[in-house]
Structures are given as structure tokens and as C-alpha cells.
């Protein structure tokens, strides 16, 4: 082995190094055009994705940790509180600082700051508004006396802790809230009081529903995909057509048609009543049952298609070979067929599961109050409460859990096993 290699090296170094370099340059030049062309082809999509996808999502997610409302409206107060911790006395210079900030802050910034303080400490909004309207732009000589006169609360820690905790520019307040946690007056992370704990339950519910739907979709989709993958071309085309049909209607329409079927005066209850099977209409809607049925129906194609495409690649000879080698049908299925379908199961389950986590319309239309998942809360905080920080934090949790699931999947299935249709 060594002899020819060294011969080649000496040959190269003596006479061929110059042409070799030129060869390398020529190769690079000839590839450049192809590279430019490739970049040109994907550039529009890359720009589009950056502008409408990555940037807005980044901006939204950054809201979950950025905390600028209070420092913008109350810069002097924030500066005066800089070195303070709740273990110490309230520093006297914060009183004039707050009076000064209230006097100079524009209406809108002040409102934002009050709203932000309210999310951390209920009652702060009212306190701030009351303080501002009582001061009416005046600059009393004894700021402390004036403030404590407006509300004795300014004499206690609570209000100052609230301002201190919201003094930015970064905060973990929203992320903690999204996990039913908060910082107490001493800055220690603790669980919120029992009646305020909603998000962990919502996260659990979201995952529970997603899990149920995924499992049932797999149960229903597997035999279907198997039949489609192993029948004749004509039959499999018809089968796939029926499963793709729901794709052609909007998710909203599909959810609404389920409500036509399931409501108290709907088709199913009508039929049951007329047949005399029930005396009163059944409550088929606004519960977990209706939600799961509709979700399975909507997401089944995402389960069937990856399964089908993987099953299609498994030669029918494999089952025959297993049989000829002495394996009973069940054994052949379990040891030879199933392991080869695993990438399809993984891809299908992942697709369905992730979409279930993010679905909003269907639970809103068909689910009850106890069937709403994280997307409902995100929409609620964006649309109703205008608490973008908390909405962003909930989104972060949703995004992270998907990322964790995906990483777990890649880890379990090996790097090349990802098959998405």
C-alpha cells in the first residue's frame, strides 16, 4: 500500500503541483456558477421566511423576557431602587424620584407601566392611577409625606417591591407566571396560590388531548395505511383519496360540520330521538369527546400518509420470507414488518401531536371550558387582556415542548429515520 502512495506523492511534487493547483481553481470556478444559481433559487424563500416568520416570531418571543414598560415610564424611580433589596430599609430618595417620574411620564407610557405592575402585584394599577390623579402634576416639598398621605401602601414594602421586580430590562416574571410560579417579596420563586394556578393544568390538558388524539389516530390509521399500501394500485388510490378528502376543506368548515352533527338539535341527536333510542338529546358537544373526534378526523391524513409512504417501501417479499423461515404471521409482523414501519409511526405521531398542541379553532368551537389548551390562553392574553408578555411566555413553552419532543424523536430514531411523507 505504501509504495504506490509515495510514488504518487513524489510524482505530484516534482511535476504536477502547478497543474494540480490550476485544476483545483478550475474546479472551484466551474462550481461557482452552480452555487450562485442554487442561492438564487432559494433566496426569495429565505427572504420571505426571515421577514414574515423568523423576525415576527423572534419579536414575539422576546416579549416573554423583555420588561421595558416600567423603566421607560419611571426611569428615576428605577435608578433610585437600583441598589435596594427588600431586606433593607426603603431608601428615602425613591419618594421624590417617583413624584418626579409621575409628573413627567406621558399618559400612555404611564398607563403601560401601571398595567405591567398590575400583572405582578394585583392592586398596583389602582394605586398608581390614584397616586397620579391626586398629585395632579404638583411637586410637594416632602414627597414621602405626600405619597404616604395618598395611600399608606407607599409606606410598606409591597409597592416598592412591585416596582423593583418590574424594573427590567429583562424579567423572568412572564415565564414564571406561565408555569404557575412567581417571585415573592424576597425574590424567591414559589408557587402561586392554589386558585391562581391555571397554566400547568392547561399545559397538562393540552398534552393529554394531543396524546389521546395521536394514539387513537395511530390505532385507526395503521390498518388503513397497511391496506392502502398492500392493495392494488386502483384500490389504494381510492383509499388515499378518501383520506385526503378532508384536506380540501378548511379546518374551520370541518369543525363547524362536526358541530352540525353533534349539537343538541343536530343530526345525530335528531336521529336518536326519532328512533326512540334516547328520550332527551345527548350532550355530544362542548366536551372532550367531541373535541377528540373532530381532531382525529382532521389530523388523520397526517398519520396515514407517512405510514403509507413507509409501508409502500417495504417489499411484500419480506413477510413471505419471514413465513418461509418459519415465523408465524404475528411473529413476522412484529419482528420484520413493524420495526421497518417505526420511522413512519414516529413521523406521523410527531406531525399529529405537534398540530394538536397548536390547534385553536376546534377546541374553541367544539370543546367545553375544561377542554381549552394553551393556544386558547395565548389568544386570550393577546386579544382580551393585552398582556403580550404572558402570551409570549406561553408561546415559548409551547415552542420549547415541541422542540424537546422533536429532539427526543430524533434521538430515539437515529439521525436518518425522519420520514415526513
Amino acid at each position: 500500500m505504501a509504495a504506490p502512495a509515495s510514488a504518487a506523492v513524489s510524482f505530484g511534487s516534482v511535476s504536477a503541483s502547478e497543474p494540480h493547483d490550476r485544476l483545483w481553481r478550475d474546479l472551484k470556478r466551474s462550481q461557482r456558477a452552480a452555487q450562485l444559481r442554487a442561492i438564487g433559487l432559494i433566496l426569495p424563500l429565505v427572504v420571505f421566511l426571515i421577514l414574515v416568520f423568523i423576525v415576527p416570531i423572534g419579536m414575539l418571543l422576546s416579549r416573554s423576557v423583555s420588561d421595558l414598560a416600567v423603566p421607560r415610564a419611571l426611569p428615576a424611580t428605577v435608578a433610585a431602587l437600583a441598589g435596594w433589596t427588600p431586606a433593607k430599609e426603603i431608601p428615602p430618595q425613591v419618594y421624590p424620584a417617583l413624584v418626579e417620574d409621575i409628573g413627567s411620564a406621558p399618559q400612555m407610557l404611564f398607563g403601560d407601566a401601571a398595567a405591567r405592575l398590575e400583572t405582578g402585584t394585583p392592586g398596583m394599577r389602582a394605586l398608581m392611577m390614584k397616586t397620579r390623579s391626586r398629585l395632579q402634576g404638583a411637586a410637594p416639598s416632602d414627597a414621602r409625606k405626600a405619597l404616604t398621605g395618598i395611600s399608606p401602601k407607599w409606606d410598606t414594602m409591597e409597592g416598592w417591591v412591585a416596582i423593583k421586580q418590574a424594573s427590567g430590562p429583562l424579567t423572568d416574571h412572564y415565564l414564571l407566571t406561565a408555569l404557575d410560579l412567581h417571585r415573592d417579596e424576597l425574590g424567591k420563586v414559589t408557587r402561586v396560590v392554589a386558585y391562581e394556578r391555571v397554566f400547568l393544568a392547561a399545559i397538562g390538558r393540552t398534552f393529554g388531548i394531543a396524546f389521546t388524539v395521536t394514539a387513537l389516530a395511530l390505532l385507526l390509521g395503521f390498518p388503513f395505511a397497511f391496506l392502502a399500501a398492500t392493495s392494488s394500485d386502483r384500490v389504494s388510490r381510492i383509499l388515499l383519496f378518501t383520506v385526503l378528502l378532508p384536506f380540501w376543506t378548511a379546518m374551520l368548515v370541518r369543525a363547524l360540520s362536526w358541530s352540525v352533527l353533534l349539537q343538541r338539535t343536530g343530526i345525530i341527536n335528531d336521529a336518536l330521538l326519532r328512533l326512540g333510542l334516547v328520550r332527551e338529546p345527548l350532550d355530544l358537544m362542548y366536551n372532550r369527546f367531541a373535541l377528540c373526534i373532530a381532531l382525529i378526523h382532521i389530523f388523520l391524513p397526517y398519520m396515514v400518509l407517512p405510514l403509507y409512504s413507509v409501508m409502500k417501501t417495504i417489499p411484500p417479499q419480506h413477510m413471505r420470507a419471514a413465513a418461509s423461515l418459519g415465523a408465524r404471521p404475528w411473529m413476522a409482523f412484529r419482528r420484520v414488518y413493524l420495526p421497518q414501519v417505526v420511522p413512519g409511526i414516529g413521523a406521523g405521531a410527531l406531525l399529529v401531536f405537534i398540530q394538536c398542541l397548536g390547534v385553536f379553532v376546534v377546541p374553541a368551537l367544539l370543546g367545553g371550558p375544561n377542554d381549552q389548551g394553551l393556544p386558547y390562553y395565548i389568544a386570550f392574553y393577546v386579544n382580551r387582556v393585552l398582556n403580550w408578555g404572558l402570551a409570549a411566555a406561553l408561546s415559548v413553552i409551547l415552542l420549547l415542548s415541541v422542540a424537546v419532543l422533536y429532539a427526543l424523536y430524533v434521538r430515539l430514531s437515529g439521525k436518518s429515520a425522519m420520514v415526513l411523507g
Binding site: 417489499p315 417479499q317 419480506h318 413471505r320 420470507a321 419471514a322 413465513a323 418461509s324 423461515l325 418459519g326 415465523a327 408465524r328 404471521p329 411473529m331 413476522a332 419482528r335 420484520v336 420495526p339 421497518q340
Partner: protein, 377 residues
Amino acid sequence: MDAIVRYSDVSKTYDGVTSVVRNLNLDIEEGEFLTMLGPSGSGKTTSLMMLAGFEAPTSGEILLDGRSLARVPPHRRDIGMVFQNYALFPHMTVSENIAFPLQVRKRPAAEIEQRVKRALDMVHLSTLGGRRPLQLSGGQQQRVAVARALVFEPKIILMDEPLGALDRQLRESMQLEIRSIHERLGVTAVYVTHDQGEALTMSDRIAIFSNGAIEQLGSPEELYSRPSNAFVAQFIGENNLMPCAVARTSGLECEAELAGSGPVRARYGDLSPGQTDGVVAVRPEKVRVRPKSAMDSSENSFSAVVEAVVFFGDHVKLALRLAGGQKLVSRSLPEDTATFGVVGQELTVGWNTQDCAIYAPRSRPAPPIPVAFASQA
């Protein structure tokens, strides 16, 4: 020797109209290497699949060791099978593939390990047990498939065009390897192929299939030298088939006329009594060519014109046209035809009566170009 497998009046139809296999009767003897040879659609693979248990006969039955297989599912037949594309399990290593038939039979782990090792040694893959099938070359995958089909010591091993996906050189060395494994183990082998060369080199006996029935069953030598009808004459080896008018049959010989070229005497093939149309079959290597002036001692002698000369190195083929327009091919040593094997040259061709036969014509027409020139088969 006893028949280990018996096809008894087996028929198979898929659509109820056309029969894929028609009244098949065939005894396969213990320890022999039997090849089912035929063009695609001749029923050979279906016959094999019925023995393996993946298809069921529409009528008739198949006996294994004297017992009917009708109610025995494939996994209890104890028949090893090598599939066309090997059907190795891609998610298992080579060793796991070979261990599979032993594991489903619940053999003890120590025995499995030992037998897998022996099977790997047998096919010269001892060092590749940890690889996945897709990391192996076609020839290596083929050997794994053979090892897997033999490791549980089945009574019979079936092979369905196992070498079809390999290139020619590899195919030839695998033919020898499979043949030698068969001889060492003494297992009964049933082999399906459409490649007559493969069938001739490997088999103890060959069953030639056409249209769902066996045309002829015999050793390679028998099939080559004494084809029983025009189909076999044409299918096995190269052959010149020329239509002729039968004039007279006498005993084992008959006389006929090659229109415009002259009379021909030949062995009696499968003509019906009184039949007047036939085909003369004579193999290229039996056709002697001589310069026009030379004396020809052959019993059948004609004058011919050279239309093409093809040089193959160890032999040369001449495409010839007789006076009456019949075309045939001769095969001879290059030095024997050096002086007169020239396009346009007139010469004399001849062959012995014992080297040609007259058959009843078959509906399937002879290919327009002699097979010899399509490729060197």
C-alpha cells in the same frame, strides 16, 4: 431415489379464464437440483410459489414426503426460500438475519450462535456478520440469503431467479458456489430461472415450462441433444429452424424438402402421422461449411451465400442464405473458414442426418434475427 415433492395434476388460475399452470405432474427427487426453466409467464414461478405455500392450487395437490401440503401454512412447511431480491431484513444485521429462522424455532442461544457462524463460514462471509444488508454488495447479499435459507436445515430449498440482479461475471461465480453448496449439503434444490445457460450449468434435471405446462423434463444433456419439440429446440441453446415440407417418414428418420434448396434427411421429431409441414432444426456447431469447390461428405448438402461474418475470438459465426432463401447460422473455428468466410462468397454447407431433426411447427414464430447474432448468449 424417492420423490420428495410430487405435483399431482396441479392447476392454477387467477381469473377463472386462463390457466397459469395446467395439469402439472412432476416428481422432484430427494437431493436433486431441479430447475424450472421457461420464458416469463410460463407458470414456473407460480409452480414454485405453490410449493412454498404463498399460492394455493385451484385444483390438484402437492405432496411433500407423501403428505398433502394443502392445509399446511408456509411457516410450517420447513422449506427454505431465496427470493428474487433476496428479501433480507434491512433492520437486522447479517447475523441477525441468519439467526432469525433459528430464533423463531426457539433454539438455544449457544446453538444459534454456533450455527450462524457455520452458515457465515459456508458462504465466506465470516467477517461481515455485524454489517447491515444494505452495506453489502449484491453478491454478498445473495450469499446471506442463501445462508439464511439453509441455516435451519430445511428439507428443500427454493430459489426464485436468485441471480437475476447480479452482473454476468458475478452470476457465473455464484452459479458455481450455489452448486457446490448443494453438493456439500445434499439438500433438494428447486431453482427457477429464465436463463437457459444458468439452467444448463447448474441442474441435475431441467423442467422446461411453456404456457403453464412442462414441455420437456430431463438432464441438460438430454435437452440439448434430444429436444422433444420445436419449442425446446429453440429455447435451449442456439438452433437454426427452417420450415420444410415433409415428404416421407421411415422409422426414426424422415425426408423433407427445403423449398428451392433441396431435399433434407433428418431424425424424426414430434411430427404427427401424415403431417406434411414441419421445421428442420440443426445447431450452428453441427453445420459444416466448405469452399464451393470442395467435396462435401455430409448427408445433407446445400449451396449457400455468406451474408455476414461475426468474429467471437474463439469461434466465428457465418450468417448464410440457402438457394431457396432459408437463413441459417454456422459456427466454426476461425482458422477453418479463414479463406472463404467472406461476405458474398458462395460455399457449400452440410450436416449429418443424426445432427438434425424435424419437428411440428409451433405457433410461436422463430425470431427474425438468428439468436446467435443478438448476443453471445
